[in-house]
């Protein structure tokens, strides 16, 4: 035990004395979460819009008031003629124009039907789409309001965004970010740190010492397990208190699953280190072989459902995909292990596979 502690202590010296390691360990998670939380987001707030209200009656005023108070839109301009619309779009400040037909209230009350035209600047199709969806939702809502009291004959489709009612993208980024960062810290840092012992030549001395190879590896891994775990907790805390990302399910379960995922990533890091001799090689393999597929194919940024079938198949071999599913289930849906025991088993399977391969590689080298 004394041996083990001496080793772990040494490992911490390495970590805390290397500025690059420190930046990757602690700087990156914070920067990434702020970046993803604030800068890279799909949601829209305070979009500038204009309104051409041809009818100007009590209902159209109510509708406009409702749009204004929704928080999504800033009404920049009230128009009087259709010709002004083209000019506004060309200027580029206005993303959406709402045109309310003449005799809005009259048509609605007498004929139970009326028209509202939504014009969006689709040079950025995603934004246009989102704005149209927001606006449509508000209008439907308004329709429901004025219908109350009269006979509820009209069927009003109600749209609700489950688990993330406000479509806050940061909710999706936090589980993804934890995954990416744990992967990076655990797999990359351990593979580099083991490769460094080989490169410098100290690994030989360690193996010639009474420490068992297994003990050496374990002692190298423990500090990263601890630091990765701290990282996961920091991201969860930042997610909760800065962005309000909920943890609807069981926190202990989430932490346990995180530890499982960290162990999986650590064993992957060990596997990488058994096939590399230098830090450079370990870094390259980790970055190209791990980070890119993890970011691109795990469903973190691009939805797996939208991928070509071949990539969907490949995505099954990305361990991060399974952990993202688990993290989202716990944090957003608040469900328990019965809903994702299969994903959990997949992670266990990956861990066993990587450990077994590492041991095999290690034995070959010693023989």
């Amino acid at each position: 035990m004394n041996r083990f502690l001496a080793f772990v202590k040494k490992e911490f010296y390495h970590i805390f004395r290397d500025r690059r390691t420190l930046v990757i360990l602690f700087g990156m998670p914070v920067v990434q979460i702020l970046l993803f939380g604030y800068a890279i987001t799909n949601e829209i707030k305070d979009a500038r819009i204009a309104i051409l209200d041809k009818s100007k009656d009590h209902l159209s005023v109510r509708l406009i008031e409702k749009i204004r108070s929704s928080g999504y839109f800033l009404i920049e301009d009230y128009l009087n003629q259709e010709v002004e619309i083209e000019k506004l779009f060309k200027e580029g400040t206005i993303k959406l124009v709402l045109v309310i037909d003449e005799s809005f209230a009259q048509n609605l009350e007498k004929q139970h039907a009326t028209n509202i035209q939504l014009l969006a600047d689709a040079t950025d199709p995603n934004t246009a789409n989102t704005l149209i969806n927001y606006a449509t939702a508000i209008i439907r809502n308004f329709q429901a309001e004025i219908n109350s009291g009269t006979l509820p004959l009209t069927i009003i489709p109600e749209v609700r965004m489950r688990y993330n009612p406000n479509l806050r993208s940061v909710f999706l980024f936090v589980p993804g970010l934890i995954t990416i960062i744990l992967m990076l810290v655990s797999a990359m840092m351990t593979s580099i740190s083991i490769a460094r012992e080989k490169e410098v030549g100290t690994m030989e001395v360690l193996l010639a010492s009474p420490m068992q190879p297994g003990q050496v590896i374990l002692a190298k891994v423990v500090p990263y397990l601890m630091l990765s775990f701290i990282n996961a907790v920091v991201i969860l805390i930042m997610g909760k208190f800065i962005f309000g990302v909920p943890i609807n399910g069981s926190l202990p379960l989430l932490l346990l699953e995180s530890i499982l995922f960290i162990l999986m990533a650590l064993s992957l890091g060990i596997l990488i280190s058994t096939v590399t001799q230098s830090q450079q090689a370990a870094l390259l393999i980790s970055l190209m072989g791990l980070m890119l597929p993890t970011i691109l194919l795990s469903g973190f940024i691009f939805p797996i459902e939208n991928m070509p079938p071949a990539l969907q198949v490949i995505s099954n071999f990305i361990p991060a995909k399974w952990f993202i599913i688990i993290a989202k289930s716990i944090m957003l849906k608040g469900v328990g292990i019965t809903y994702f025991w299969q994903e959990t088993l997949v992670l266990v399977g990956f861990t066993i596979l990587f450990v077994a391969l590492s041991i095999k590689k290690f034995k070959i080298r010693l023989a």
């Binding site: 004394n2 041996r3 502690l5 001496a6 080793f7 202590k9 040494k10 010296y13 390495h14 004395r17 290397d18 410098v200 030549g201 100290t202 030989e204 001395v205 360690l206 193996l207 010639a208 010492s209 009474p210 420490m211 068992q212 010693l366 023989a367």
Partner: protein, 244 residues
Amino acid sequence: MEEPIIYAKDLTKKFGDFTAVDAISFEINRGEIFGFLGANGAGKTTAMKMLIGLWKPTSGKASVAGFDVYREAEKIKKNIGYMSQRFSLYEDLTVVENIQFYAGIYGLTNQQIKSKTTGLIEKLGLLEVRDSRIQSLPLGWKQKLAFSVAILHDPKIVFLDEPTGGVDPITRRQFWDLIYEAAHNGITVFVTTHYMDEAEYCDRVSIMVNGRIEALDNPSTLKKQFNVDTMHEVFVKMARPQEA
């Protein structure tokens, strides 16, 4: 007659078709300084790695400190010290931290670690740099420290793989003072080198050529046998017979 502390009989290591170590046999006695000579690539390091339990031999027999290299590698590791060719200290740790780390992984108690650390720092005159990182020390100091660390746990045998690479003859001489002291204290020294001035310091030497031990005796007998004045000339005749 005391049992040899290192014993090898027809020890062989093959990597595929290539025979790195070809049926070498020797016996080394307790307290001896044994020079394991050979050109680069002659198989010295491979042979040493089999003896310290890093690699399993392909065939042959060997025992170190009375333990079999096939079955009892873990017991061997407890009884030996090892200083590798490429330097065994951590550059980003201080002198004291390095000593404490190695003392720690060899299982010394806290009490022992404390007294050994103070003793070693005094002996090597490192008091002023005890909290400096290794990377700031001159190579000669690092090598002396690495050697002292390798014998910190009082092993029966210390294996040194080209311990003095890259330093001048005077620093090498100082390094050898430490080796003599260790041998005097009963530690058997097994040292590989290709510096022939170091070969002169050994009690006995073996010369390896292409995986085989071609000569094994004390330096003066070897010199007599080849009718030359220095070990360097012996070595040249052995390793490159076509030039001689």
